[in-house]
């Protein structure tokens, strides 16, 4: 019997050891990789300035040849990968830096990307160049080099705004805007105007649902793939910041014991979202479909409204041959037309150099090169996102530019994904605002009790973590 129990224990250990495989070694070990960092061949070399004139480039040729070694550049973005493949990024970089080699590593999506990066951090094996989102910058801040001195950082419109302790830890590749996509012909047919306040937005959704839904039971006035949970982010993640015009909303919440109390920005925003989500304008089963499905249906005009980032435009266009009637407006969160009309802007895909890089100077040179005239203009014109570089202005896609034309007096809110304190509390109480949004669609959901429970957990977490 003892043998049997032992054998069983081993089997069970085998079954569960997959998680243990992610374990770290003791902090003292595994630093061999770092010891090799910054090899002697690189000492004293300076990274060339990005976007420099031709004469400067010629002057730097010798320095470029001094920079040698290999780099690993890890990405998750499919569009970037396609562009890198079709434009021979490694070859072009080697034209400038003949002794450098670059390996691009593609990870399935950003969720998997963060999982992989966390595991690699613990193993001292981060790639030389990695990307971050606003909400991961603070998590990886101890493993990123300061890029303040790079021309790429100086010429970037958003980089300085996301500096942590005065250090620019990543240079945003794009400026991200959030849009509400809509079909102009459907709005016209139903007699709906582009909304400019939250009440108008709700009324428009209801009117569209009543008009088209009477003949088509599957019709969705507002498309939302709530089955995937994350597609509710334009409402659940950004509306609290838009409500009070405070891009630092998450960080300010970390300073309060009851941030979900009546009257706070997040509570007011979630009251609005809950009202909308329970209005029966999302089709017959919003929790039954994911983002891919609803985007495809929206492209086929089985839905009239879809809120997504600028990156969503390509996905919509891929799903239809005729997008001549596709338009955009910004999500109107304000209560009345006399309130300021606020729009979220955030840096996206922050390119950074990690402390685990064996060739940090070469990695910095790569960042400079990436944002230089040699590479960045081609890339930024390939994607639908907006440029983050002052040196490379880009005209918006005409469809996205419509949103700007609708609201010439809009007020920009620079979004911060939340710093250390917020994330510590979030992790402690498993606060997942995207899941909370999806739960609003379920029967019996009570926002009041959820908010009360969250306040209690929040206060307890702050006390436990010693956050002031």
């Amino acid at each position: 019997m003892r043998k049997k129990v032992l054998a069983l224990g081993l089997c069970a250990a085998m079954a569960a050891s997959s998680l243990a495989g992610c374990s770290s070694s003791d902090s003292g070990s595994g630093n061999a990789g770092n010891e090799a960092a910054g090899g002697a061949a690189l000492a004293g070399t300076e990274a060339p300035a990005a976007g420099g004139a031709g004469s400067q480039e010629a002057g730097n040729t010798a320095a470029n040849e001094d920079l040698e070694g290999s780099l690993v550049f890890t990405i998750w973005d499919n569009n970037l990968m396609d562009y890198i493949d079709s434009n021979d990024m490694a070859g072009k970089f080697q034209e400038k830096y003949p002794n450098a080699e670059i390996e691009v590593e593609k990870i399935k999506d950003d969720t998997e990307y963060w999982n992989a990066m966390k595991m690699r951090t613990s193993a001292n094996q981060l790639p030389d160049v990695m990307f971050n989102k606003p909400f991961t910058l603070s998590r990886f801040k101890d493993y990123l080099l300061d890029l303040s001195d790079l021309e790429a950082a100086k010429n970037n419109e958003l980089a300085a705004g996301y500096a942590i302790d005065g250090k620019v830890l990543g240079v945003p590749m794009t400026a991200g805007y959030e849009y509400v996509y809509y079909w102009k012909d459907m709005f016209e047919e139903a007699g709906v105007e582009v909304p400019t306040t939250w009440e108008e937005f709700k009324t428009a959704a209801q009117t569209l649902q009543d008009y088209f839904g009477k003949d088509t039971p599957d019709f969705m006035a507002v498309a939302l793939g709530a089955k995937d949970e994350w597609p509710d982010y334009p409402y659940m993640e950004f509306m609290p910041a838009l409500q009070g015009g405070n891009g630092q909303n998450w960080n300010d919440m970390a300073k309060q014991d009851a941030p979900f109390a009546e009257g706070t920005d997040i509570r007011s925003a979630y009251d609005k979202v809950n009202e909308l989500f329970t209005m029966d304008v999302f089709g017959k089963d919003p929790l039954g479909m994911g983002n891919d499905q609803v985007t495809a249906l929206f492209a086929q005009k089985k839905a009239a409204i879809l809120a997504l980032g600028d990156w969503g435009l390509q996905n919509i266009q891929n799903g239809t041959d005729d997008y001549s009637q596709l338009g955009t407006f910004y999500l109107p969160v304000r209560d009345s037309a006399s309130d300021p009309f606020r729009v979220i802007v955030q840096g996206d895909s922050f390119m950074g150099v990690t402390t685990h890089s064996k060739n940090p100077e070469l990695a910095k040179a790569f960042v400079e090169w990436f944002y230089s005239e040699d590479w960045y203009p081609g890339y930024i014109n390939y994607v639908s996102s907006a440029s983050s570089m002052r040196t490379v202005p880009k005209e918006k896609d005409p469809i996205l530019a419509e949103a700007d034309a609708q609201q010439p007096d809009m007020e920009m809110v620079m979004y911060d994904g939340g710093g250390d304190d917020f994330q510590a509390i979030q992790n402690e109480i498993a606060f997942d605002y995207k899941k909370l949004g999806a739960q609003m669609f379920t029967d019996g959901f009570d926002l009041d009790s959820e908010m009360t429970a969250l306040n209690e957990k929040w206060a307890a977490a702050r006390q436990k973590l010693g956050i002031q």
Binding site: L10, A20, G283, P286, Q439
Partner: protein, 297 residues
């Protein structure tokens, strides 16, 4: 002769040492490290961590959503458990002289070799409320009244996901049973037939007891699989709505990666190990101690 003896000993020593080293290196050490991590507050990437001893275990016990997730695992467990007799019957049927048996065997095993994520993705379209194939099939037979919110009704969703899991894994069990049945000596079965045993008696008193080792394995695999189910709910529902279709492993992975709490996630992994052993022992006691003893009597 001495040389041969020495070579034999070297061969035996190497044959024992290599698997032992692999077992210790890849199973035992990670398992002990898992247990060590379960006593810490490690976030999964920082170089430093603190011993917090049993705090994770206490926190796990108090976590309502985790236990709700475990309840969902039970649906998979009982669904697959109830299906084992059917799998056995299929195995017997396919082992007998059946026309086009090879074709059926391939069809039965096919779902198991297809990528699990691809299956889950395909089934999420199959059960889609708009343009979903399943609703269309019901419509074709004028059974519209039976159409439900398959993936968003908290009362229904786990049964739908269990059905997908059955579709995927039953073939694997059938093949295992078939392999065991084919290894049975023919003379024993023929002797039983000569003694007048009918098909049911042959199945019940000769075949089943002879393949009990395989039944044991399938039962164990069922517990392990039910407690560790991940890809189907992760892709098809993300564990939602809320935590209605979350499973213990899904919650564990979220704890580790989404909420950066590897210490607590390790505690949950230790709990899974313990549960697998305990449930297997209880199940074994019931099946061998009660069911089979009654038969022997």
């Amino acid at each position: 002769m001495k040389s041969l003896e020495r070579q034999k000993r070297i061969f035996i020593a190497v044959s024992l040492a290599v698997p032992m080293i692999l077992l210790v290196g890849f199973i035992m050490v990670p398992a002990f490290d898992l247990f060590r991590m379960s006593l810490t507050d490690w976030d999964g990437y920082s170089e430093s961590w603190n011993w917090i001893w049993l705090e994770n275990y206490i926190s796990m016990m108090k976590n309502e959503n985790l236990w709700l997730s475990l309840k969902n695992n039970a649906v998979y467990f009982f669904g697959h458990l109830l299906f084992i007799p059917i799998e056995l019957l299929f195995a017997v049927l396919l082992t007998s002289k059946l026309r086009a048996a090879k074709f059926y065997k391939t069809m039965v095993f096919m779902p198991y070799i297809i990528n699990g994520v691809a299956i889950s993705y395909a089934f999420s379209y199959f059960f889609s409320p708009i343009n979903g194939a399943f609703d269309a099939i019901l419509g074709m037979f004028h059974l519209e009244a039976l159409i439900q919110n398959w993936l968003s009704d908290p009362k229904l969703v786990n049964f739908v996901l269990t059905a997908v899991s059955l579709w995927r894994f039953s073939g694997y069990h059938v093949i295992l049973f078939m392999a065991a049945l084919q290894s049975l000596p023919q003379d024993v079965q023929e002797a039983a037939q000569v003694d007048g045993a009918d098909t049911w008696q042959l199945f019940r008193y000769i075949q089943i007891p002879s393949i009990m080792l395989m039944v044991d394995f399938v039962l164990f695999d069922n517990i392990r699989g039910a407690l560790q189910v991940f890809d189907i709910p992760y892709v098809m529902t993300s564990g939602g709505p809320g935590y209605a279709s979350s499973t213990f492993t899904l919650y564990t992975i979220d704890t580790a990666f989404k909420y950066s709490n590897f210490g607590l996630a390790s505690t949950m992994a230790v709990a899974i190990m313990a549960m697998i052993v305990i449930i297997y022992l209880v199940q074994n006691k019931i099946i061998h101690g009660l069911v089979l003893r009654r038969d022997r009597a």
